[in-house]
């Protein structure tokens, strides 16, 4: 049932109506609408019950193991939420004078300092509101840097073919053309191809390390030198920062600019699709170009540095202060972890991934890169299973839902056939991982015994497999009563 099915003319959540009303008699009739918008007319209980019930139709970290590769679905501590929602923080207007929000601003400043340290960068701006916006800010800074040097012929951004789709899409939004670099058999950037590709047209290389294939780019020092020698800059996509947090710093690897996904590594909620936060970190030479606002400590007062303070800034990503409330959650998380806890994040995320990988391998699952260590994630390929039973990675993923596990990432990266990208994260226990392995084994047995059973999954969810073709062909994007 939709909320609109609960609607009855004249019903309302009366406690929510403002006590006073007002007239619109001073406004020209031509600018007013004829009738109020057809929003649902419901009691407060109708609404509470409807959305509580909808929530129960979701998988979530709080209810299920969620080994979604490249997404870092770790526990989102409750304290981060409750402390970011203290009434004074919620009431703070973004344009209120700085002196009325020193507590909030100090927390932002300290978050910047901690992120600088843990990534080895010279400066951090919290402005970007998600990973893709962080990428945009990063590539825009690379452009601004080359432009400021009069080095305007650089027109190309290099992206490994295993990269997230946001990388090439971002490069285009910044006015660059994209050249893809292939991957070698071991899952590394193909160095020969990279050598052939770099040149005076190279503005930069975007790299995720550990990569989306779940392995550390062993030749990062060579890659770094190749790109820098050609005059290009090195961009670090922080999607997999959780794998190396506190252990290896992107700045020490030679990256000039990075983004971090705080909704991954710093455990702010994914929220069913956001809000995230994608702060950017920069090396010394990119400091003047950081997006605004950046929080500075100026004469004993914390305040936002704006365009006037940073005249070469690439500018703003939003009208206000980015996803400030999300940043506050990340701050609380970072303080609870502390230096020691941050190091443990990478260690235990890596331990969990390697354990899961070893056990699945021993159980007969084929690894995409069997000679490599897992980072905090790894890839299983179900090509053999598909060839022998017809059961695809998608079927396997859907059947996992019936066993009470969220599916791993499927069909990404695109270059591994029938792949499952599995990332357990550090907050899951051995017992949970063991139960997941058990479920994978059962599904594999089912595939050989009764492939149709697996291909018809899931059976236990609110709906069975959905008709995506119909969804796209017969667009129904908004409810219209019959």
């Amino acid at each position: 049932m939709l909320i609109f099915d609960h609607s009855h003319p004249g019903r309302a959540a009366h406690a929510q109506l403002p006590p006073h009303d007002g007239a619109l008699d001073d406004l020209p009739a031509a600018l007013l609408r004829d009738a109020p918008p057809a929003l649902p007319e419901c009691s407060e209980l109708d609404v509470v019950r409807h959305y509580t019930r909808l929530s129960q139709k979701n998988f979530s970290i709080d209810t299920q193991f969620y080994p979604l590769g490249s997404c870092t679905m770790k526990y989102n501590p409750r304290a981060c939420n409750s402390l970011a929602m203290l009434p004074q923080f919620l009431a703070r207007h973004p344009h209120a004078p700085a002196e009325t929000g020193q507590g909030f601003l100090q927390s932002m400043f300290e978050l910047q300092e901690m992120l600088k340290d843990v990534t080895g960068m010279a400066g951090v701006s919290l402005a970007p509101m998600a990973g893709a916006q962080g990428e945009f800010a990063g590539i825009a800074m690379i452009r601004a840097y080359h432009d400021a040097r009069g080095d305007a012929a650089r027109s190309e951004i290099l992206v490994p073919n295993a990269a997230h789709g946001t990388n090439p899409a971002t490069a285009v939004m910044c006015g660059y053309t994209v050249r893809e670099i292939p991957t070698d058999r071991e899952g590394n950037v193909d160095l020969d191809a990279l050598k052939a590709a770099v040149g005076p047209q190279t503005a930069g290389l975007m790299l995720t390390n550990p990569s989306t294939l779940g392995v550390f780019e062993k030749t990062i020092q060579t890659i770094q030198k190749l790109v820098h020698d050609a005059g290009g800059l090195l961009y670090y996509d922080g999607a997999n920062l959780n794998a190396i947090l506190g252990r290896v710093r992107p700045g020490d690897m030679g990256f000039d600019v990075i983004h971090m996904n705080l909704h991954k590594t710093f455990s702010t909620p994914h929220g069913g699709g956001g809000p995230g936060a994608g702060p950017v970190g920069v090396a010394e030479r990119l400091l003047p170009f950081m997006p605004v606002p950046v929080v500075i400590h100026d004469n004993g007062v914390y305040r936002n540095a704006v365009e006037a303070d940073l005249p070469q800034s690439i500018g703003r990503m939003s009208a206000n202060n980015g996803n400030a409330g999300v940043l506050l959650r990340a701050y609380v998380y970072a303080r609870m972890l502390g230096a020691e806890g941050m190091l443990r994040v990478a260690e235990f995320a890596t331990l969990n991934a390697n354990y899961l990988m070893a056990r699945l391998r021993d159980a007969g699952f084929e690894l995409a890169y069997p000679t490599r260590r897992a980072s905090h994630e790894f890839i299983v390929t179900l090509k053999k299973l598909k060839d022998e039973t017809g059961v695809t990675a998608m079927d396997f993923a859907k059947r996992l839902l019936d066993y009470g596990f969220h599916a791993p990432t499927t069909y990404f990266p695109l270059l591994v056939p029938e792949c499952l990208l599995i990332e357990p994260s550090e907050t899951e226990s051995k017992e949970t991982l063991d139960a997941f392995i058990e479920a994978c084994l059962k599904i594999k047995e089912e595939a050989y015994a009764n492939a149709e059973r697996v291909k018809g999954a899931p059976y236990t969810q609110p709906v069975r497999r959905l008709d995506d073709v119909k969804a796209a062909r017969e667009l129904d994007l908004a409810y219209k009563p019959a």
Binding site: H20, G22, P28, L31, L32, P36, P37, L39, C42, V48, F59, S60, I61, C71, P77, M85, R92, H93, H95, A96, T100, G103, M114, K116, A130, A132, E135, F136, H164, G165, M173, V215, I220, R247, V248, M253, G273, G274, R316, M317, A319, N320, N323, A324, V326, G338, A339, F348, T350, L351, R372, L401, A407, S429, P462, R465, L466, E474, L477, A478
Partner: protein
């Protein structure tokens, strides 16, 4: 080790299964030279009790102010149920609903949200959200340039659009060689004056209400845009759409795209975010829309269900040819907004809009009586521009001293307006609140316009 459940025995068993002597060995593919030293700027970890105390102290130090500041972020009452349900773990800690069968809660909610937004804007389709109003306007500009077959890359941007929206929009689109052409406003009315021609332009942005709070002649502007073969982009405040004409009804054929910030619909001010950008459009432009979109379909048994659709527009499929690079959006805030709109309903949202309008009229009346001047003639909605003979920074600082956040200082972006500030009074303000602001403003204005004591001899 906060949030890590492993016992020593677990660790030993797991390492044995891997065949590694210790955890360090799992990092043996990383060149040793890259191993980081000690973190110097990250303090030792603290317990939940300690961090609670610290954050509570910071929050109390920040305090609470009587707020008359709007300028794109509005203080409205948010029903308790909104964030209590929104922060249920099943919404809060879920991922993007790519696995549709395990995400029907979020997907149905977004479908309901899209429906509500199409009803507010009078347009055919809505996406699932963008980051905020400012970056949303940039996406609307990019979309209009793609959709307008002329290939023109200039967009007309009134100066009555929020200056920070214009800045964000410019900074996001500039690398794609798109030029924003500013259009002036009439000094007496604070409303946009349409230019002589639209040479080389693809779209016109139409703010309603505009940044000064004034109501623009949206019908004439929409028709003018269409007469010049431009797309009409409506930049609107969703609360006001409860009573103002929907963009889909503007002029002869309606605006083509509507965009704005969803913050007024249930998102707390929270120092500027997270909010979200909403975007709606006519059916013919759906395939040019950025961001996620949910559609209703059926499952294998013919039962209705919901799924992300038209994904061929998006970066994870189309990569460098996507309509935008956006991936993560502002889903949780949309969850809050959907619950907010359901609780308020048509009557509630209309009353919020009408009460905010009435309170702002009352505020302007009292501030003028206390010595301020109303800058523009004409009709405003729930914000207005006033001017005093006191320098803005001094006035606003003095008001803060009295516990009042008095408004948005316009002197930086609109120096031609003198000591002008933008004020707002939503439904959250009482007559006593408004009276208090007027009294304090009156006191400050009369005191500061007196000559300093040394000149009195």
């Amino acid at each position: 080790m906060p949030f890590i459940p492993h016992s020593d025995e677990n660790i030993a068993d797991m390492l044995a299964a891997i065949g590694a002597p210790d955890i360090d060995a799992l990092f043996d593919e990383i060149p040793a030279a890259l191993k980081a030293g000690k973190l110097a700027q990250v303090p030792p970890g603290v317990s939940e009790m300690e961090i609670t105390r610290l954050m509570s102290e910071r929050a109390e130090a920040d305090g609470r102010y009587l707020n008359f500041l709007g300028a794109g972020a509005y203080e409205h009452h948010i029903p308790s149920a909104v964030w209590q349900i929104t922060t249920r773990g099943e919404f809060y800690s879920a991922y993007t609903p790519y696995q549709a069968e395990a995400s029907q809660g979020t997907l149905q909610l977004i479908y309901e949200y899209q429906t509500m937004m199409t009803r507010l804007t009078g347009l055919d389709a809505s996406n699932a959200s963008l980051y905020d109003g400012g970056s949303g306007l940039a996406e609307a500009v990019l979309m209009a340039v793609r959709a307008n077959k002329s290939g023109h890359r200039r967009v007309l941007m009134p100066k009555t659009v929020h200056p920070l929206y214009r800045a964000a929009c410019r900074d996001i689109v500039k690398n794609q060689k798109i030029e924003l052409v500013e259009i002036d406003y009439h000094p007496a009315t604070g409303c946009t004056v349409l230019p002589q021609d639209a040479e080389g332009c693809a779209a016109l942005v139409i703010p309603q209400p505009n940044f000064f709070g004034m109501l623009e002649d949206v019908d004439a502007m929409t028709d003018w845009a269409h007469a010049h073969k431009l797309l009409a982009i409506a930049l609107v405040n969703p609360t006001t759409l409860a009573v103002l004409k929907a963009p889909g009804q503007w002029g002869g054929t309606g605006a083509d795209i509507a965009v704005g910030d969803g913050q007024p619909l249930g998102a707390p001010l929270s120092n500027g975010g997270p909010y979200y950008g909403f975007m709606c459009c006519k059916q013919e432009f759906v395939r040019q829309m950025p961001g996620r979109i949910v559609g209703r379909t059926v499952d294998l048994d013919g039962k209705p269900g919901f799924a992300l659709t038209l994904q061929a527009r998006e970066q994870h499929i189309r990569r460098s040819k996507a309509t935008s690079n956006i991936c993560t959006n502002q889903g949780l805030v949309v969850t809050a907004s959907t619950i907010y709109m359901s609780l308020l309903g048509p009557e509630g949202l209309s009353r919020v809009a009408r009460a905010s309008h009435a309170n702002t009229r009352s505020l302007v009346g009292k501030l003028v009586a206390a010595g301020a001047e109303q800058v523009f003639g004409g009709t405003y909605f729930h914000e207005a521009v006033i001017r005093t003979n006191v320098e803005n920074a001094r006035l606003l600082r003095s008001l803060v001293g009295q516990g009042i956040v008095g408004g948005y200082d316009l002197s930086k972006d609109y120096p031609e307006l003198g000591n002008a500030i933008l004020v707002c009074a939503t439904e959250t303000k009482t007559e006593a609140d408004i009276e208090r602001y007027a009294q304090q403003l009156g006191r400050i204005v009369s005191k500061m316009s007196e000559p300093p004591p040394c000149a009195r001899k």
